[in-house]
Amino acid sequence: MNVLVILIPVSLILGGLGLVAFLWTVRSDQYDDDQGNAARILLDDD
């Protein structure tokens, strides 16, 4: 059971990283144009 002492913090930190990444995407306006971003990947240039 001692492994829990390592594994629980690890899982929390990994989850926290995901949360921070998500908050960053919200702050940098990445949800303002979901359809446009989906379509842009089909553009040849830029």
């Binding site: 829990l4 629980i8 989850g15 303002d32 144009d33 446009g36 379509a39 842009r40 990947i41 089909l42």
Partner: protein, 705 residues
Amino acid sequence: MTAACAACSVAPLAEETAKGRAQQFALPGIHCAACIGKIERGLASLPGAGTVRVNLSLKRLSVSGPAPASRILTALSDLGYEAYPLDTEAMARAHDSEGRTLLTRLAVAGFAMMNVMLLSVAVWSGAADATRDLFHLISAMITLPVIAYSGQPFYQNAWKALRVRRLNMDVPISLAILLAAGMSLFETLMSGKHAYFDAALSLTFFLLIGRYLDHRTRSHARSAAKELTALEVPTAQRVEGESLRSVRIDAIALDDELQVLSGGRMPVDGVLLSDTALLDRSLLTGESAAQTIACGDRVQAGEINLGAPLRLRATAVGEDTSLRRMAALVETAENARNSYTTLADRAAQTYAPAVHLLALIAFLGWFFYDGDVRHAINVAIAVLIITCPCALGLAVPAVSTAAISRLFSAGVLVKHATALERLAEVDHVVFDKTGTLTQPSVVVPAGVSAKQRDIALSLAQHSAHPLSKAVVTALKGATPVFLTDLTEHPGHGIAAVSAGVPVKLGRGAWLDADFDGLGLRIGTAPALPFEVPDALRPGVTEALAGLDLPAEVLTGDAPAPAKLLADRLGLPVRAQARPEDKLARLDALKAEGRHVLMVGDGLNDTAALAAAHASIAPASALDASRNAADVVIMTDGLESLPLILRIARATRDLSKQNFSIATIYNIIAVPAALAGYATPLAAALAMSISSITVLLNSARMRSVK
């Protein structure tokens, strides 16, 4: 500031670039990646254009840099796209910080729910004693701060309702979240077996999804309304000497002389220079009757000119106008629920008291049965958690979000939050004729002299009536002459004086001629008839074929063309209906118990659009009508009309199905909870399964054809 020189028109734009604000345009016609590429590449080469960015979800274009708006518009129309400039001020205020906060709360709740769920799974699969207590303790440390942060929207709404001694959906939600967390903390400290931390968090998470979707729907309706406002007055007509010049609203200076067309809004506050004017001041005063004012009276930005074109001198511009000061109040009015009770409200009204009663019964029942307070409280809280409306909170928002984005991609703006529910109840359709079902086209007879053409064009230029616009199109190339004493007689025509001779453009009867249609009369010479063949608006035949409701046409037109249309469309037509007649007809239909959908575009329809159960206006409609309508069709044709009604009905049906699903789940789960069998595992399963079923059911909106 006088802007007679070319350099001055650059100044405000340069100022704007310095502030870093981009110009915005509405692009109703874009739909795919190819459009984005074409526009962004096409404009990149435009001199003065900085960053060019197309937003496909909002169908908007923003261009930074000093390139003039007119140049961008020309470039866009060369590329084959229709575009409208948007008022940057109005769009800047549209920025949505509330949605962002909700999304952050949602993300935090989701993160916490997943972590606590991992720990709970360990407990459910058999962790015992010290390990279980440790897991519960870690769960508590994650849960408590998160529900304090993420649950705030629910607590605030619940408190608002409780303060005025009322119950809403948020009261049982807040109680369930707080009690579940509190009780679980107590159980954790007492080394108890069951903790509901995961239930408290998944409640918060699922309900925040519903809240976020609901917010998106509302802010969509708001931004649709805002986009239309922004469309309306991006420019004003400034009088410079004897000519008119289009200038941006933010370039108007104090004491500028401006002209406002019939049906247009006052761009700024000012003093009337014309002799008299007829105004609709309802936006600012709520007074719906038109008011006549005289020279020297004050006019306020946002008031609608119902009469002839008028002139005014600006006395307050920019942020000082009464319209801008009213903007915040108008927004609140838009948000406020009107008298219409939505499906979700009706569900909440029966639901909230029932849940509290059930929990109380559970508590009292168990307390008197075995006298164990702790157990009785546990069961009561389990009842609150189990009945808690995860699925109910998602039932309506999930469906209406899908419906509104579906309609938006078909070029339809839903302006009002309850519009879809009201549209679903419609059982009778009333159409306006001119401008809605038909588009006027004017044929100028061959014998008309150049001077007559010039006068007809000048008269028509001063009116926003669709026929006048058609005259302007037909007379392209003529040179306008200077007119004085312009008066518009709504329903009749427009009169003025040109070089001392009275000139009139309007109905035959009003011109004392022996024909019914449009004509031009100069001085005492006999009136010249203009041929006005009614062209059906594109898509009308398809729209009527797809319509499964009784429909009729009310028109201010003469009986003969009305009869022609009636034969062509096979609909009953009432001719020569004045605005009061239209209103009276709507009232009569309402008295018969019918829910009327009004489709109209003109000044004479505005009252009817506002009075009908639901209303639709085409984008070509007058400003006043677009404001009064619930839904605006942004495309040229009317063919999306049956689709709007089908989607509205599908929205209602799917919402009701969702409520049924939630109820069925409650019927199964509540007895189990009352009997004391609702373990944290059962609660988590039931909550997730019902929410997912409801979301999946809402996705069926995609298949509505």
